[in-house]
């Protein structure tokens, strides 16, 4: 009976596509990272780890992620709470909050470049207020920390929206009765947030954190737009080795590093934020 075969038929294109364009290339990367003309080797990894930039690169990426993601989480929770509390103008505010969702990281980088560049808006304000005498070159290698801050601002600005969207839809799934019950038992707004919203939001928090952390490890265009190669990050170095240094094996090794920390953080969040069986809404 064809009825039984139908679901498989419908899944076939997607499965084939993912096998050819997802699993196979990743195997290729893994093979590439361990191969040389002579066969199996660890040389790409040695080249990568002994290169002077590797330590900074890894450290920069992880530090950026460790700063950006928590800030985004707090801001997104604030935004989501505002949105769920709003009565008038909810749709307009929601649209404004979600705008950055549609923007590419490159666009975000360029937008913040307009603020931080030497003849940009930040300098205009600082000079106008008399805080500095002449415009400062913020995005040079002398001011590495400013590039760092600019990247953080741009990333927080761009990618908080997706976290908020996930949290808002998660909050929508929490029945009102729980809040009313908590209120009857004497919980104030803050306690209600801590004791009802946060625990019930756990699955959404998990999704949001996994998604954002992985994306943060992939930070690339924002950094390039704001700092060129002054602030090396993993994705940028991968690009560099592939093209500028023309060593695909080392690029593959970098890719595996990104993959490894991505999977590690995914597993971490899956474990830490797991919902006990039967504790779902």
């Amino acid at each position: 009976m064809p009825q039984r075969a139908l679901p498989y038929l419908l899944l076939l294109p997607a499965t084939l596509f993912l096998l050819v364009f997802f699993l196979y290339p990743f195997l290729q990367i893994a093979i590439l990272a361990f191969s040389s003309p002579e066969g199996f080797t660890l040389k790409p990894f040695q080249t990568m780890t002994t290169h002077w930039k590797f330590g900074t690169t890894l450290w920069n990426t992880i530090l950026l992620t460790a700063i950006i993601v928590p800030i985004q989480l707090v801001m997104a929770l604030a935004m989501a709470t505002i949105v769920t509390k709003l009565k008038t103008g909810r749709n307009a505010i929601l649209y404004i909050f979600t705008i950055p969702l549609g923007l590419s990281d490159l666009a975000a980088g360029i937008i913040w470049l307009a603020i931080f560049e030497q003849s940009g808006f930040l300098n205009s304000v600082l000079v106008g207020l008399g805080i500095v005498e002449r415009p400062v070159l913020f995005l040079g290698y002398q001011n590495l920390w400013v590039i760092f801050v600019a990247v953080i601002l741009a990333e927080v600005w761009r990618a908080t929206a997706i976290v908020m969207v996930i949290l808002v839809s998660g909050m929508g799934l929490i029945p009102k009765e729980y809040y009313e019950a908590a209120e009857v038992f004497g919980a104030g707004p803050w306690k209600r947030f801590l004791k009802v919203t946060l625990p019930m939001l756990r699955p959404s928090l998990q999704t949001a954190l996994i998604l954002r952390t992985i994306a943060a490890f992939e930070v690339f265009a924002v950094v390039v737009a704001l700092g060129g190669t002054t602030l090396p990050v993993l994705m940028g170095e991968t690009f560099n080795w592939q093209f500028a240094l023309n060593d695909r094996n080392v690029a593959a090794a970098y890719a595996l590093v990104i993959l490894a920390i991505s999977i590690a953080s995914t597993l971490f969040f899956l474990r830490v934020l797991r919902t006990p069986k039967g504790a779902t809404i």
């Binding site: 590419s104 205009s124 265009a221």
Partner: protein, 282 residues
């Protein structure tokens, strides 16, 4: 009990509410400004003449000079890059919905062995930095003659978009009660007819929204586009490549060109964003 209530006379509720309300509104305004001001500044730069863009200090009101935009559109390769971006995004949209929607439908309508495995495969893609796929695929594409083509890039972007397409269409189809389809079967439809006459009209807006979402994913993608294209650069790849060499006004006009469609797209799909993510969560 009664002593305690007398002792700490609470502040009038209205007063607490007023303070809270002020804080609430201030926070809302601040967050809106945080989102909108940077975009506004980009607009100011885009609508200023090239001299103003590199001049100092900046003003907060644009001069509505279209010099920057004219320069941008006249710049060698820009129109082509814009066109490439559109073509790749449209291809991605068609491919990812064409491949993802049937899978989403199957997941929402059938119980069958292997369903969990497939869901795993789709969810797994989330844990992988997908743009990196471009590296090995670049080699594979050279072998099959897809290197530096819009189709090749569209295939990679489709890989990025398929997990979303599957999960989003899954949630959209799940929103259509199966009884509607069953009713159509009992009223003389075969499976395909029931889908065409009942399911399709109902899911079309949602499918359109997810198609637009796929378009946006492709439109915004930088890394794979830069890796896979040389001559046939998309707008993002073109801008990235010329970042270090191009004048400021070109960058800002390019940034604006990236932002504008995205603004429209998000506006178009705003109703669906939450429904899509609400169920895609699980």
């Amino acid at each position: 009990m009664s002593v305690a209530t007398v002792a700490d006379v609470p502040r009038p509720v209205a007063e607490v509410n007023a303070a809270g309300k002020f804080l609430f509104i201030a926070g809302t305004v601040l967050l809106c400004a945080w989102v909108l001001v940077p975009i506004y500044l980009l607009v100011v730069n885009t609508l200023s003449s090239p001299q103003e863009v590199s001049g100092f200090p900046k003003t907060a009101i644009p001069s509505f000079d279209f010099g920057s935009l004219q320069f941008f559109l006249g710049f060698a390769g820009v129109v082509r890059a814009l066109w490439n971006s559109v073509v790749v995004a449209v291809l991605t949209m068609i491919l990812s919905i064409g491949i993802g929607a049937p899978a989403g439908y199957a997941l929402s309508r059938f119980e069958f062995p292997g369903k969990a495995t497939f869901r795993m495969l789709v969810l797994m893609t989330r844990a992988f930095p997908l743009p990196l796929l471009a590296l090995p695929l670049a080699v594979m594409f050279i072998r099959v003659g897809l290197d530096d083509t819009v189709l090749g890039l569209a295939l990679v972007h489709t890989t990025l978009a398929i997990p979303f397409a599957v999960l989003i269409t899954f949630s959209i189809f799940s929103g259509i009660p199966i009884e509607l389809e069953e009713a159509a079967w009992t009223l003389g439809c075969n499976r395909l007819q029931a889908f065409q006459k009942v399911v399709l009209p109902l899911v079309l807006p949602g499918i359109t929204a997810s198609a637009i979402f796929a378009f946006t994913i492709s439109w915004n993608e930088v890394f794979a586009a830069s890796v896979l294209t040389v001559e046939n650069r998309t707008l993002t790849a073109f801008l990235l490549q010329s970042l270090s060499v191009s004048p400021m006004h070109l960058k800002f006009a390019g940034g604006a060109a990236l932002v504008l469609p995205a603004l429209i797209f998000i506006f178009a799909v705003r109703k669906y964003l939450f429904a899509m993510w609400g169920i895609a969560n699980r």
